[in-house]
């Protein structure tokens, strides 16, 4: 049974649980960069278990590439589990801090208004600048940043995309994702 979308480019979120040991992030990212995969972002952070780190790598590629790299991830010793999430089945969020020049009242007001519309928070104020924190999916964050680019942007720092599966299942469950069910249909 051939899956029809083996050669289509899609966005995948590789969510991995790994042992928190020196070098694991380096090993994992090397795996992806060696093969020349199109990595959009990498996020690494804590989970609720001490000693376990969750790495989320967002990659643009084909289903075949995704399967290949998953198999290779398991060969890296500290990797405990890998689950691929996609746009349809997960909550995707990114946090971005933007510092913008805002010394005149008109600019300040405009930025404050836009932040309010996007439900972004103003986290720092100085005489010449405003720093805004925006949290949302790629569409919302990109839209906000595009608007900010109309002002004089001083600095931008981003976390990269974090993803978690929708519904009651977690990275610890070996459940079939929605997309897998659909792919099995002829």
């Amino acid at each position: 049974m051939m899956r029809t979308n083996d050669t289509e480019q899609q966005l995948f979120h590789f969510s991995m649980l790994v042992d928190d040991v020196p070098g694991v992030l380096s090993q994992v990212s090397r795996l992806f960069s060696q093969k020349g995969y199109n990595i959009q972002s990498i996020v690494s952070g804590r989970t609720q278990e001490p000693g376990v780190t969750r790495i989320t790598i967002t990659m643009l590629g084909t289903q075949r590439e995704a399967d290949q790299v998953t198999a290779q991830c398991y060969k890296i010793f500290p990797v405990r589990t890998v689950k691929i999430l996609d746009e349809g089945t997960s909550v995707e969020r990114e946090l971005v801090l933007v510092k913008v020049c805002a010394s005149d009242q008109g600019t300040r007001n405009e930025i404050i208004q836009l932040s309010s519309i996007f439900r972004a928070d103003i986290v720092d104020v100085s005489r010449e600048t405003l720093t805004v924190a925006i949290l949302g999916n790629d569409g919302k964050v990109s839209a906000f940043l595009d608007l900010m680019m109309g002002f004089q942007v001083m600095e931008v720092v981003r976390t990269g995309t974090l993803a978690i599966e929708r519904g009651k299942h977690t990275i610890y469950d070996r459940n079939k994702l929605q997309s897998e069910y659909e792919m099995a249909k002829i």
Partner: protein, 161 residues
Amino acid sequence: MQQTLSVLVENQAGILNRVTGLFSRRAFNIESLAVGVTDDPSISRITIRVDSGNNVLEQVEKQLNKLVEVIKVRAQEETRYIGRELMLIKVNASTKTRGEIAAIAEIVGAKVDDLTPTSMTLELSDTTERLDAFQAMMRPFSILEVARTGLIALQTGGGKL
């Protein structure tokens, strides 16, 4: 001691490897790492939380500066930066506990992203300490899953990296 390093790098394939490889060779413990592009798409900014002593951090800065793709390195002074982290958390939630969880979420400013008959998924961005506190408050409900980013930071006031 926890230290925060902000690093600007040319956005080239393999640069993240080179940076993290630096840390792994000398077995510094990276507590967290966040990387993303800046307003200039050819430049990425990496924010690293490292557990280390003062001397060690200076060495790390020197090593980072030796990498060709590294544009700038700055160790953020503790009191003078704004640090934020993002957390997505999935907790057990029944009809009985849902209201209580939502009330706690409202107090801290967390938002509900997903809801099922047996679970709730929430998002929160705040300082590391507040995120830890919120996670602790969720523990009695039984945490199913937590995903966190590393810290991202900008200096307060008008300066830039």
